[in-house]
Structures are given as C-alpha cells and as structure tokens.
C-alpha cells in the first residue's frame, strides 16, 4: 500500500452534504478494505463558500482510489503520491464523522 493525498476541492455545498458523503465513503472503504484505507481528512473552506477536502489515504494504486471514489460518489480533483511523512505536532481535535 502506498500513501496518497487526494484533493477534492469544493465538492459540497454544505458541511451536512459532506457528512453524508463521508458516511458513504466509509461504507465503500469497508467493502474495499484490501485495497484502500482512509487515514484522515481535512475539510477545506473554499473561497466560494462551499466545502472541500484534502484526504490522506493508503491504497494499492491510484486506480483503487478512483474506484473507491466512483463507488462512493466522491469527486477527485487530484491524486498525489506521498514520498515521505513528517509529523511535527498532533492534529487539532477532530470533528467525528
């Protein structure tokens, strides 16, 4: 499994819409557990008032990420491979999904 950053900029109108999508994403992630693992996400406040995400996933390939996104009806703007991880401090307290 490789680590990837997935950009989904401005995919949802409201945080509630995103919440629904997150539930769907988790369900599909369980189904494809051998190929993909959702690590964490940051919800982005887009300039136009919509919300997007920057997600960290582990996956067997970029194609597995796209298959998961298709099944869970998630948009994908860009997939970037992670070359290394530098953890400096803990994440801020997360809102649970």
């Amino acid at each position: 499994m490789e680590t990837y950053v997935i950009l989904r900029r401005g995919g949802w109108r409201t945080a509630d819409d995103l919440q629904e999508a997150a539930a769907c994403s988790a369900a599909e992630g369980d189904r494809m557990s051998g190929d993909i693992r959702w690590i964490r996400s940051y919800v982005t406040a887009e300039p136009d008032g919509s919300v997007g995400t920057v997600c960290i996933y582990q996956a067997s390939s970029p194609e597995a990420i796209r298959e998961h996104a298709r099944a869970a009806q998630l948009p994908v703007d860009e997939i970037v491979a992670v070359a290394d991880t530098v953890v400096v401090g803990p994440d801020p307290a997360p809102a649970t999904v």
Partner: protein, 523 residues
C-alpha cells in the same frame, strides 16, 4: 506410472484440456529415462505442443529442443527440422529473437534438402511468423505465400490456416487493411472448417490486435471479445486479448474500463507480452489523468520490451513514454523518448508508430516534417490542419485524441470545446496545459470541472427510492413486495442496499434519512 501418465496426457489433449495435458506429459517425461529414444522424442514433441498452446513457452522450448536433439541422434532429419522450426514461436515469445531466427533458418535448410512435404510448409509459416512479428511485412507475406502454396499442394489445412494468418497480419500491418482482413477471415474459415482450435485462436487474436495496432478500434474490439470467448471456452489463455482490449479502451476514452482490465491481467498469470500491453495502457491512463505512477508503469513496460527489441512493443512503449513526459511538462524527455525508436518506425514504415513518434518530436520542437505516408490524423496535424486531424480522430472513435487535436486549432472556441472534452474525460493533465495556453493567448479561461452537488448524495436508484418511501410510510417488506409487484426476496435486497447506502442500521433511521434528503416530498 509412465503408461498411466502418458494415457492421461493423450486423453486430456484430445478433450482440449491443454493445461492438464501439458502437466501429464511433464509427469510422464520424469519417468521416461528407460524408454527408447523414439518414444522419448514423441513425448517431448507432444509436451512441447501442449506447453506452447497454454503459454508455457519456457517448457515448450525445453521440450522441443530435447526432441530435436533426440531426432538428430536418431538420424531423423525430417523430424529434427520440424521440431527446430517449432522452436521459432516460443523463442520469439520469450524475446530470444536471434535464437528463433537461427532455429528457423536451420530448420528450413534441413527440410529443403529433403523432398518437399508438410514439414517444410510449416517451417515456412514459422519463418513468416518471425518476419511478421519483426514487422518486416513484405517478407512476412512472401514466406506466408510459400507456406500456403506448399500446404495447398499437400493438403495440409493446419499450415494453410497458419500461412494465411501470417499473410493477412503482415498486410494489415502494412496498412493494406481490407486485403489483410480478408486473408485473416479466410484463415479463420479454414481453421473452423477443420476444427483447428489453435488456428481459430490465432486468427481471432491477430484480427483483434492487428486492427487495434492500426486504430481500427471498433472492429478490433469485436474480434478481441470473440478471442476471449473462444479462449475461455477452450481452456486457452485469454490474457493477450484482455490486454489488447485494455489498450482499445484507453484509445476509445473508457479509462475506468481499461483500468479494470489492467488490474485483471496484472493479477493473473499473464505472459510478458500481455503485461507490456497493460502496462502501456496503465501508463497512458495515469499520464492523461495526471495521476502518479505513469512513468513507473512505463519503466516496467520498457524493461519487458527491451529483450525482444521489436517495433510493435518498443514503438508503443516509447510513444507512451513520450506522451507521459510531454504531459508532465518535460519537453526534452518527450523528444528523447520519441527519437529513441523513430528510425526503426520509419524503417518498418509503421503508419501509426511513425505518426505518433513524429508528432511528439514535432510538439517538442525537434522535427519539422514527416513522411507523407504516416497515419492520417498525424499527417494532418503536422501539416497544420488541426481541425482536420480532430475529425480524423473522431471518425476513429478516439475522444481524447480528438480533443487533443482540437486544442491545437487556432480558433479559441475549438480550444474551449477541447477543454470541456478533457474535463469530461477526467484528462487533468491536458486540461491544465490547455488552460495555460488559453491564458497565454490572453483569452478567457473557463473554470475547472465542478462536481455537481448531488441532490441524492446516497446514490439510491429510482427503485430504491420507491422502496424507501414505502418503508418510511411504515410498510413491512411483505407489503412493499405486494404494492410494487416484486418478490419478497428482491425487496429484502433493496432494503439492505438502502440501509448500507444511507449508512444507517434501522428502518426508522432510514425513514429519517429519507426525510432529511428530501426524498419524501415530491409525491
């Protein structure tokens, strides 16, 4: 033990169970030390045929080399020549071209010294195969014609089908598509009439891949599907067809379907040639989407293609690498990749590889003109007729290539159309380049694809919404079944699918979710 294994092998071969037959022959040969050399040679011959038919080319090489050596010791020149000629295919398929060539030439030399018979005809056909693979098309036709002439004289249907297949493939590769397809269909007809399973398989394979290599994609797809169906029915390997279908899907803009086929081939026990094809498909899809790992896939493809050194693999791999480099913004590398194999493509007069390799050099500023015989869309593009090139791609059913050509047209609305097409395909790399080009020309740039905010984020089907509304009204599954005239089982299935999609555990929660999603309103 020996007799039992041999009998089992013969029975398996007769019933078309080639993998089983190859395994049984291998077992028989482990106990064959005490047999007379004639018997051992016969067993090796049979093992070689079954191994070759199931793609076990290393085993086929070993068995046929052993058989040829035994016949040589026995002074049986005819069978020695025949078995040497049968080494051509497995040697070529494992990338050992020089050994294939030596075996084929020696076989022909031995057999031409004997009265001409079916063995010599078969040896000519094997030589035609080697020339076809090297894309020496005129020689492929010439050797194929010798094979066919001799096969007709001695009424050898197998070599007749083989020779016709090689003539047809060589003609298709030379761009004489219709004439070549007619020869291939003739080969298919002979093979079917005489129940020559491996010749039917080969004819479908060559029709599919030959037409694919010439961008006759719709017809290619039809024959590749026939190939896979035939392979699966007859216990032959489908990978060659699946891998070519992945490439056809890429060029027809069906990238998800291509990726699924790629995954299937990479997970299976595929041969190097099928792996090269799917790695090219994967590299192209990743490069076009702007996904990571495009060059990784194409590095592996190049490693696998190098030993064979054939244009059909190297031309394809380097063209894909030039494209990936270009889309990644590396002009120098795009030029170097295209240059690496362009002289070979010119030497073999390959319409499509010469065309694409010329195109990338032209894009990268390293080439002004190309010969006028290159494939039509590339010829038009290099002549400055981007709209004409786009139309030519469109006629071939290639949406990405159509948009790529249109993006280079002078008219701003053509580039804006192309941008919409790139966004629709998910071709992020080309979309980004097109936006930059529009900006550089001082033209207004349409914003990027914005995924529509879905009114039905749970992606329920129309039927599931119908079921959910009744569930929200308090209906039990049996009531739902009665109202919608469905079986109870079907309703159970719908309800569990609804719960899963809404990520809820109970019917009550599902009803609440339905209300929240606004699914209970417009009734």
């Amino acid at each position: 033990m020996l007799e039992h294994a041999t009998a089992a092998a013969v029975a398996a071969a007769a019933s078309g169970a080639h993998r089983e037959a190859a395994a049984q022959y291998a077992r028989a040969l482990r106990h064959a030390g005490s047999l007379p050399p004639e018997e051992r040679a016969r067993l090796f011959t049979a093992h070689g045929d079954e191994a070759s038919a199931t793609g076990l080319f290393e085993d086929a090489i070993h068995a046929r080399a052993e058989a040829a050596a035994l016949y040589r010791t026995l002074g049986d020149r005819l069978n020695e020549g025949l078995l040497l000629s049968r080494l051509t295919l497995p040697y070529m398929r494992t990338g050992r071209n020089a050994e294939a060539e030596a075996a084929s030439r020696t076989a022909i030399e031995i057999l031409e010294a004997l009265p001409a018979g079916r063995e010599l005809g078969e040896a000519y056909a094997h030589q035609a195969y080697a020339r076809m693979l090297a894309r020496d098309n005129a020689e492929g036709v010439a050797w194929g014609e010798r094979a066919v002439a001799l096969a007709e004289r001695v009424r050898d249907h197998d070599t007749l089908a083989y020779g016709l297949c090689m003539i047809g493939t060589s003609r298709v590769m030379a761009g004489e598509i219709e004439r070549g397809v007619a020869e291939l269909l003739h080969s298919l007809e002979v093979a079917k009439a005489h129940e020559l399973e491996h010749r039917v398989y080969a004819a479908y394979g060559m029709l599919g891949s030959g037409l694919g290599e010439m961008y006759e994609l719709e017809r290619a797809e039809r024959y590749l599907l026939e190939f896979i169906r035939f392979a699966e029915e007859n216990e032959l390997t489908p990978w060659y067809g699946v891998s070519w279908l992945a490439l056809v899907d890429v060029y027809r803009g069906r990238w998800d379907a291509a990726a699924a086929r790629v995954a299937r081939v990479l997970a299976g026990p595929s041969d190097p040639i099928s792996r090269i094809s799917v790695l090219i498909a994967l590299g192209r899809v990743r490069a076009r989407r702007g996904d990571p790992g495009a060059m990784d896939a194409l590095d592996e493809a190049l490693e696998l293609a190098r030993p064979g050194g054939h244009l059909q693999r190297l031309g394809h791999v380097h063209a894909a690498r030039a494209e990936a480099a270009w889309l990644a913004g590396d002009r120098e590398r795009a030029l170097a990749e295209a240059r690496a194999v362009y002289p070979l493509a010119l030497e073999k007069r390959h319409l499509w590889f010469a065309g694409e390799l010329a195109y990338w050099q032209w894009k990268a500023g390293g080439l002004d003109t190309a010969p006028d015989w290159i494939a039509e869309p590339y010829r038009l593009q290099l002549a400055g007729d981007a709209e004409g090139a786009a139309d030519a791609w469109d006629r071939r059913g290639c949406p990405y290539e159509t948009a790529r050509a249109r993006a280079e047209a002078d008219a701003a609305d053509a580039a804006i159309d192309a941008l919409a097409a790139f966004d629709g395909l998910g071709a992020r790399a080309a979309a980004t380049l097109t936006r930059e080009a529009l900006r550089a020309r001082g033209l207004p740039v349409p914003r990027g694809p914005r995924p529509a905010t879905r009114s039905n984020p749970a992606a329920l089907t129309a039927r599931e919404i119908e079921v959910l509304r009744l569930v929200a009204d308090g209906c039990r599954n049996a009531d739902v079944a009665q109202k919608l005239v469905l079986s109870r089982r079907t309703v159970d299935h719908h309800v569990s699918s609804i719960l899963r999609k809404l990520a809820v555990r109970t019917r009550g929660e599902a009803a609440a979710a339905a209300a929240r999603l606004g699914l209970l309103q417009d009734r």
